[in-house]
Amino acid sequence: MAGLLGGLPDAVLSVAYLVAATLFILGLREMTHPRTAMRGNLISAAGMLLAVGITVLWFEILSPLVLFAALLVGAAIGTWLATSVETTQMPQLVGLFNGFGGGASALVAGAELIDLFGAGGAAKVAAYDVTGAAAVAGVVGAVTFTGSLVAAGKLHGYVEAPIRYPGEQTVKAGVLLVCVAVAAVLVGRPAGVAGALTADWVPAYWGLLVAASVLGVLLVVPIGGADMPVVIALLNSLSGLAAATTGFVLDNSVLIIAGTLVGASGMILTTIMCRAMNRSLRNVLVGGLGDTRAGDVADIYEGNIMSTSPEEVAMLLETARRVVIVPGYGMAVGQAQHAVAELAAMLGEAGVEVAFGIHPVAGRMPGHMNVLLAEADVPYEQMEELEAVNPTFADTDVVIVTGANDVVNPTALSDEPSPIQGMPILRVWEADVVVINKRSLSHGYAGIPNPLFTYDNTYMLFGDARESMQALANEYKATR
């Protein structure tokens, strides 16, 4: 079979795939700096265009209409989603895209199996590595698909609370066992059941997809909002691995290389997120939080809370020389990034040194705060990572915490067991004054009180993040 370019030697196709893979790697390398990252993304997109373009031109397309219709529909939906969704909804959109990639991989592996089985009959097809890879691609792809849909739904607020139920782990383990069993049938094709389960349309594979889809839902449903950065990173990794294993099924080099790059990328992010919470991946997936919640909570706050007003904070800022702003998910929810950015810009103009202290797991996906702030025109030079900003708190006059809680909770440093014990946190209290903007004294995701609220140099600025930050910006503007 041959397409437009099909008359050329096979090596041409392989070289084109090699160039595409190289462009992916170069593109990722350019992403190591904010200034070159945009170019990196374009280089990577060029690699994709090359890989897809040559594939379309190379092979004989039996039903070009179907293919181009599908490409058009996909491109239209993708463009529409990317352009119509607001920055604040980015986490769920990214989750959704992840899922589509995984789902596509699972379908492709299945369709290829149908081709193989249909062409040769169950007895002829063979290679265990192909059926094995297809089984892995199917499971990983389907888990990625349904897991991402659930994650996106959670991030969008359809199901906010983690859903727990008795026997949860047993149910998950059971479904996993079903997956393994069906996969074993698919790969091993034991005599007896083989005929029925490995007919032309490969029922065993679709059974596997159903089981894996259920597993994907079960895995993500019990996970709470603040653990979402881990889930998003993990699903990202899985979507890459699904593509890579599909590459094994199709014996296609660029699929393997590109998929593996993504798999590695997602895995690294997953590790970073877990480390930033001092929890293992297993602990996050099994849902470790929630058992150690403290009962009598308000007691430590009784009579120890000092509240303040935007006017007072503006006065503090007047004499400050270095100010650090610590944003959290509350800033995203309240869409306070523009007010915060306005304040930071005014401080900068007044000669105050301004930095943003950003915890790795602040928000709902890795780098969430940075994207919001960048959207509000905060220069990336002002965004400092945990390790960089922590030593500077001692030289900081005012810290403004807005919408963050657990990531500034000193309980993490104490020996007492707590859900956040050992978690790296921002040591904001080392600054002269800490202003905490929060709607109430309610707990963060970890469900424990925060002694920082009672510290002598801590002032609570109660209120919605956007309103408070806007009021503060206005007050500060008035003092100048």
Partner: protein, 94 residues
């Protein structure tokens, strides 16, 4: 032994990926995720083959759905990354 060759690619790509991705600053992690996401849409190649050359109706239907999904992933992923990175790349004009 296609399998062993493929495995070789897999292992080497994993190391390359590890070396590069660890150098990407936290501030770019969201665009990285959506950009990497778009790369995982490389499965589109497989979808194209299946949709275009599927010998049975079932394979063609599966291929159609797969192409739509993978294209959403590729186009949406790159675009979202692009929009985000556009905000990072530029500098404040004062």
């Amino acid at each position: 032994m296609a399998f062993v060759e493929n495995l070789t690619l897999f292992v080497l790509a994993a190391f390359v990926g590890y070396e590069i991705i660890t150098k990407i600053p936290a501030t770019l992690h969201t665009p990285l995720i959506s950009g990497a996401n778009a790369i995982s849409g490389i499965t589109l190649i497989g979808s194209v083959l299946v949709a275009g050359s599927g010998s049975t109706t079932l394979a063609t239907v599966l291929g159609f759905v797969a192409v739509v999904m993978a294209t959403i992933n590729v186009v949406g992923g790159y675009l979202v990354s692009h929009f985000m990175l556009r905000r990072f790349g530029r500098r404040r004009e004062d």
